[in-house]
Symmetry: C2
Subunit: 257 residues, 2 copies
DNA sequence: CGGTATTTTGAGTATCGTCAAGGCCAGTGG
DNA sequence: CCACTGGCCTTGACGATACTCAAAATACCG
């Protein structure tokens, strides 16, 4: 398995902003124990119920966190993007399977050395705590999105989440003139699973939003946002424009088009 | 506001199992800074967007974590029970309001002293980390429950969650002969909000489950479980009987009836 | 340019939300 | 002791929404 070094960004964990705040000693210890791994779209990185042998950090690509239901359906409970960590620390086996949704690169740390480093590095402990708090926030935001009754409203919520949280990731969100253009990195079927609906309904939902003049479907996976406010209303966002989100959004999204 | 001491359990944070693992110095520092507070059902403990001035731990009762949507509806994203902590550490204002669902007693720690203690007490840091990881697990379990299509299936998932996670709380779950009897501590309306449905639909769902012979509605808030396996299948639990859950369940539920 | 996977569209059915009315229970006051 | 009241739960009828299954259209890839 040959590693292809990416020239346009720092190598390995240096690319992850949150690790740059670590003390040099901790950082280099982490760097020494980390091993890069690549996975192709569709590969399983960690199965449900596996004892966790490593803690990892996503460098590039998109991962699905999912659970297999009794009837065989796969329910997606979250998407992992660059900078996200997974593999439970201090806990037993994982409750969810991790699969590559696209080609993916991660940095894996063997669990025991990592925990050992953790106990003597308050700075790493802090980074981890913040990471988990962030995860928790996202999980709850997701619950709000999922709590919406109509599928188009969930779609609106999804688009807003991508705008705010995934804005800094890859080139998912770009500014095109007045509006924003979003690339949806996963298939309709995955999106349907994520939003608790069927692919057909997702499709209809997108076209409903388009007919309402709130978005424009450039290509199936490229959505242009025409009326951010209308989407926010659909999603039930009380405080539009969400100050923190919008600030993040505008700070991180540079003029690309 | 007179505090009524409860005689059948240790006072204050001593009652919370997870704190008993702290080192004595940390524990007593925590005990010194903690202040008990009581709230009546319906009172708001912390509003959405409030800057968090304290971190707290639930001693008794049930709290709602909720968000007010644009249309004024209240969406519940979680229930807090004894031992749960809330009030974000190291983060900005809260994203959700905290309200008392029943009469409630909490122990509040002023935020700054708490964080100060936290930075010099790795044991407290560990407890907090575990608490947050636990929260994250629960949030994801909820997402699985919410991802179910039909409301009766979500109800089934809810009942299982109560059995596993809330088994140790108060006297919510008791064994009655062969089966389990569950007390539902919140109203139909709250339950509906939690499960993303209407109170009417929740009612119909319970009666559908009763007609199917899987539960028996003893009183509106007392549900007897007749067919745990059928509920698990509805909820999409692949691995019935869920080993960890069932073990917890049987370990913690003593013969009461 | 063809073959495959994905997305979209269509028609029929099941489920849920909505609105309105009725029933149950506890607390209150006669 | 009983009637009254208010809150909550339940039931019924109808419209809206989403799921299912099937087929067509489009995009993707060599």
């Amino acid at each position: 398995m040959a590693y292809v070094l990416q020239k346009d960004r720092p190598d390995g964990i240096s690319a992850i902003r949150q690790f740059s705040e670590l003390e040099p000693a901790t950082f280099s210890a982490l760097q020494d124990m980390g091993r890069k791994r690549r996975y192709e779209a569709g590969q399983t990185i960690s199965a449900e119920g596996d004892p966790t042998t490593f803690v990892a950090c996503v460098l590039d690509g998109f991962l699905r966190m999912q659970k297999t239901l009794a009837d065989g359906r796969q329910q997606i409970v979250g998407i992992l993007v660059e900078g996200d960590m997974f593999g439970q620390v201090f806990s037993g086996p994982q409750h969810f399977a991790i699969e590559a949704a696209t080609d993916t690169e991660i940095c894996a740390f063997p669990r025991l050395p990592f925990e050992k480093l953790l106990t003597r590095s308050p700075d790493l402990d802090r980074v981890l705590l913040l990471n988990i708090l962030n995860e928790l926030d996202r999980a709850r935001d997701w619950m709000i999105v999922l709590s919406t009754q109509k599928v188009c409203d969930r779609l609106a919520g999804f688009l807003l989440v991508v705008c705010s949280r995934f804005a800094t990731v890859d080139h998912l969100v770009t500014r095109v003139g007045e509006g924003l253009e979003i690339r949806i990195p996963i298939s309709r079927a995955d999106l349907a699973s994520l939003l608790g609906a069927r692919a057909e309904t997702i499709s209809r939902g997108f076209h409903t939003l388009e007919d309402a003049g709130e978005i424009s479907i450039v290509k199936p996976d490229i959505i242009r946002i025409l009326d951010l406010k209308a989407l926010a209303v659909r999603a039930g966002e009380e405080d539009y424009p969400d100050p923190s989100n919008l600030r993040d959004m505008l700070r991180s999204v540079r003029q690309h088009g």
